[in-house]
Symmetry: C2
């Protein structure tokens, strides 16, 4: 049985206070007039909870330590299950969350979220608040050994409904997600294995996916003020609704299931490599860059922090420890320089 | 500094690339048609460079290690002198910068910077770009010992000129600044000494200053998503131009000169206190909060990062090391809890 943690400090926000649950509920969805569900919501919740279970099981097996689990729900709608393994044998910090949120958002927020007023033809006239639903699994895994890379993934599904005071506009929906790798040291064969596994997964659904989503990932994880990416990419997609929802669900499911084979072998291979204090310090500097990206640019993080998400779940992505040295410049040609070069100039890995 | 930052959306475009100088120039100001100077600019530069010298001398004396100095200038105008002491005997990281920036900003940026279209009666009609000048000293000092507090201060002066295509609007100017303390452990007498020194300084200029600027400081350094402040405050003011510029210069000078007596004795007193590993970890968690505030909320940092400031000078404020533990809750009544309580509920210290 997983440890149940004390209720975190309660915060008032858009969706009401978090209420701690004694254990994870069989479903985070609620039926009836105050709830939100649809066949796709139900299917997607099953997928993300399965992915959470699979990834956590693989991490626990490698680490030997168990995840702590916190479940919560909100009066305003939705809830979540956060699992964290901190200061383990292999992992410094590993977090795997599922969450479901629903409520209404003002039209400006809808436009900001969709980048358009006409997604799926649902063009809210700007008058009413838009009922929305969002569910996702989100994870960041930071190993201890600087030779073992960090991995992040997130798969999410959105639905919106007709605005409260506009009649007849169709329901909108879309999928988004991605999986990406952030090493401190560059082992070409590791990065190739990671990208190849993602490409194979993509190719089984659409051969145009990998090249498009690989570039999208390189663009998204840019630390603009540094002119370097957070890591060595993977895949990233958003606003996906250009085909049957069942097809995209199948693709998202396959991506979720690809996390373990893409990533876990890399940690298994590197977790016991010898390393120096200098190499550990370099890892810590890269962790600092990770913090910079997440707090300054990551949409999920910045949006979550400013709109009342569950802080501890959002900031679970931050490493246990990080470091900032003034004007650190790796020596040209060094292993550190090679990693940085690959973050500045994305390569084709497969 | 707000005004500087809002100038451009692209790095390096607005001011050109940084050119490293072999040594600090006698002045960062430049005369002539491509430069910017005024009697107040010259006086203010002298003040901030003197403050930089005094604070660095006091830190070096306590630490035994010397600052590294980097000077640079930009084709587009201005330059800076960054001094950093990293991994010293007493200090984990201490940075003291002076910088001067000038150029032109679009009217929207001017309005964003001033919060008004009518500052000092200079109401640019929205047409032309506004020539501006900004100079400041900015510093963050992180000691190693968790019983010794972090200190931040910043004093700045702005001038704008008539818009390029509007005639006759008067020149605008204002001062801003502040000094604040961020302990990991609460020693009432230390915080009192710090606030009392600032209050004495304020009182010599205007008895309304300390109460107003103390509240302003408590408001500004709020980590909104945590519902807690970064630290235990001090003073903060901005947009100050409600009296003779010479008076405000004298006040800013006095504030700059108060940094050493307000802060350095606290580090001298605490630098050799014994501490446990747990206490060091708590300091590291508070450093994490420092990073959260600076990267998510601090105007100077966020605008600087997004608009092409010198990254290493801006991020000098970040600690050498920081830590994020999932859902860390200090035990009620513990020393850690007392500090957090004081960050959540600001007190009157004098």
């Amino acid at each position: 049985p997983r440890a149940v943690a004390a209720v975190s400090e309660k915060r008032k926000d858009a969706f009401g206070e978090e209420k701690k649950l004694a254990e994870a509920p069989s479903s985070l969805l609620k039926k009836g007039p105050d709830g939100w569900t649809s066949p796709m919501c139900e299917k997607f919740e099953k997928v993300i909870r399965q992915v959470q279970d699979e990834v956590c099981a693989a991490i626990e097996e490698l680490d030997g330590k168990k995840f702590r689990e916190d479940s919560w729900e909100r009066e305003g709608g939705g809830g979540g299950i956060s699992r964290v393994l901190q200061d383990g044998n292999v992992f410094e910090k590993a977090g795997v969350n599922v969450s479901v949120v629903y409520g209404t958002m003002p039209p400006e927020a809808y436009r900001a979220a969709t980048g358009s007023t006409e997604k799926n033809g649902a063009a809210p006239g700007g008058a009413g608040r838009i009922p929305f639903f969002a569910a996702g699994v989100s994870s960041v895994v930071h190993p201890k050994n600087p030779m073992a890379p960090t991995c992040h993934f997130n798969y999410r599904y959105f639905e919106t409904n007709v605005p409260q005071d506009v009649e007849g506009a169709p329901r909108a929906w879309w999928f988004g997600g991605g999986t990406d790798l952030t090493p401190s040291y560059l082992f070409d064969e590791d990065v190739k294995h990671f990208h190849q596994t993602l490409k194979d997964t993509c190719d089984q659904h659409d051969e145009s996916f990998y090249p498009r989503f690989k570039s999208w990932c390189d663009d998204y994880f840019m630390i603009k003020h540094r002119g370097e990416r957070r890591g060595l990419g993977g895949i990233f997609f958003d606003d996906m609704n250009d085909r049957d929802a069942e097809e995209i669900l199948a693709f998202s499911t396959a991506c979720g299931k690809a996390v373990v084979p893409a990533y876990i072998p890399l940690v298994a291979k590197r977790k016991d490599e010898p390393f120096t204090e200098e190499q550990k310090a370099w890892q810590q500097l890269r962790r600092g860059r990770y913090v910079e990206f997440n707090l300054v640019y990551d949409r999920g993080t910045t949006f979550g922090l400013k709109t009342g998400g569950r802080i501890e779940s959002i900031l679970m992505s931050l490493p246990l420890t990080a470091r900032w040295e003034y004007d650190h410049q790796p020596e040209e040609g060094s292993e550190e320089w090679k990693l940085l070069d690959a973050c500045k100039n994305p390569k084709d890995w497969v």
